[in-house]
């Protein structure tokens, strides 16, 4: 009889769920965390909404300002979740002094990263709800003609965020400057990913960088399907682009995690300090 912890799906799922539970217990231990995450996106939405009003714009990429920003904030919450949840998973273990133990357990590292990612998605649910209500109050206008296109776009956005998280999880710890890198990549996405700034105003030379980010296409698909009444045809196109980019990021992420494992075990730097 053999015990194959890493090959049986049930153990994989159990590892993901256990990590998710642990993540949620950890973040909910402090009152400030309970207050900060739902309120932060609300203030952010209001700040960008006033900025757009001050700019004299009445629409952005064909959508109402509130609608445009609502989707953008939705994407930015997922992006934050991918950076500070799944992306920061291994780094977090390192900071807690438990990365050595993690590398010695038979649990799949990918399951741990996925568990952090799932936990942070759940943690951010109140933020989504709060921003949704604010967007609706401030006049977000929805035009949904193909509900399945919306579902597809949301799924693509979640997958794109998880892909980014996988990529960052290896990179953060390999650079050994996880916090610094995480902070550096936080702001460019608002511009390059089209989250807060319409892609139409980006200079042409920035577009290739923008196109290489999976979240960019998923956000376009979500905006078009929820705000502009796009059908399955155009949504599928953007979702496909997002999935291709996500796949590439996943591969980079897996290579990064293998590399972390290698550095940790072969070089003997389990804690990677």
């Amino acid at each position: 009889m053999s015990v194959a912890y890493r090959t049986e799906p049930v153990y994989l799922l159990a590892s993901i769920l256990a990590t998710t539970r642990r993540y949620l217990q950890d973040v909910s231990a402090y009152v400030i965390q309970l207050v900060r995450w739902p309120l932060g996106p609300l203030f952010m939405f209001a700040t960008w909404r006033i900025t757009y009003s001050a700019s004299g714009r009445t629409s952005a990429d064909g959508a109402t300002l509130s609608g445009f920003l609502l989707v953008g904030i939705f994407g930015s919450i997922l992006w934050s979740s991918s950076i500070w949840g799944s992306g920061y998973a291994i780094q977090n273990e390192r900071d807690d002094g438990t990365s050595g133990s993690l590398f010695l357990t038979p649990v799949s590292r990918a399951a741990v990263v996925a568990g952090y990612g799932l936990g942070s998605f759940i943690w951010f649910l109140p933020s989504f709800a709060a921003v949704g209500v604010l967007g609706w109050i401030t006049g977000a206008h929805f035009a949904v003609h193909a509900p399945w296109a919306v579902v597809l776009a949301v799924l693509a956005l979640c997958i794109a965020s998880l892909a980014a998280g996988f990529t960052f999880s290896g990179i953060f710890i390999l650079t050994r400057r996880g916090n610094l890198v995480a902070n550096v990549i936080q702001s460019p996405i608002y511009l390059l990913g089209g989250l807060m700034v319409p892609l139409s105003v980006l200079p042409g030379w920035l577009r290739p960088f923008s196109d290489a980010i999976p979240v960019t296409h998923a956000v376009v698909a979500l905006r078009e399907s929820t705000l502009l009444g796009a059908g399955m045809g155009s949504t599928v196109h953007d979702v496909a682009l997002s999935l291709i980019a996500s796949a590439a990021w996943f591969v980079i992420g897996l290579i990064g995690l293998w590399r972390v494992e290698d550095v940790a075990k072969r070089v003997g730097q389990l804690d990677l300090y």
Binding site: Y30, V31, I32, Q33, V35, R36, L39, G40, F43, M44, A46, T47, I50, T51, Y52, S53, A54, S55, G56, R57, D95, T175, R177, L180, V181, N183, V184, I185, Q186, S187, P188, Y190, L191, M196, V197, V201, L202
Partner: protein, 274 residues
Amino acid sequence: MWQSASVSSTSTSRLALQAAIASWKAKIYEHIVVNGLGGYVLVWVAFPVFTLASIGLIYRAHRPGLVGYAVVAIAASAFITNALYYVGQLLDEERHRGTLVNLFLSPAPRLSWLTGLAFAGLFETTVSAAVCLLFGVIAFGVRFDPDLPALVLSFVLFIASLWGLGFVFSAFGLILKRSNDLANLLSSFVFLLGGVYYPISLLPAWLRYPAEALPLGYGMQALTQASLHHAAIAQLAPQLIPLAGFALALPVIGVLTFGWIERKVRRRGDLDLY
């Protein structure tokens, strides 16, 4: 008697100055070594450049007049970020390393090493603000027409206000144990009401009242007017007078609050608890 008092006072001042300089040096050196020079520069360049690029691109087409405001205000916001995050986060880091209690038990005056740490942040923030101004000139063609006395006075009053605010935030960080989370929450509030992306005069009326109860909007307005439109001190009186009030009151409030909360935390004995 007089002589001994004088000696004691001199040595205390010297100790305070030495502690401030030592903590300033240690923090700068640590950040350069820990982050590497490349990473160090990157972190202080990426945020202002991308933030300014985003706001500048939004304003450029319809309200180009606001691009100059955004350049100066986003540069100045680096100092707000410093006040919000820096000292509180450093205290959190010391707690994680297990050295926070040692710091508080050392004979060096608390205010001295805290000021040294804050000034280390000020140095980094100045780099960040300079990059932002430079980027504004290169990418958006912003031109400055500064009135130096007004600019210097506005800046000094602005920094003094922020210094006081920074102590208040750090004090609350001591109690909450999560300064970074507190700073993240406050920064979104401050960016909304602080006149960073837009003048507070463009806020809806119901948001303008709380914004006017903070020093930030006055500081931003004075700095932008003094640096872009050659506004003299007399012209800036409506902003400088309330800002001066904040600059006098907030440092006192900050030091008193920090002392009060520190005593409270020490009495409870949970300074180094997570």
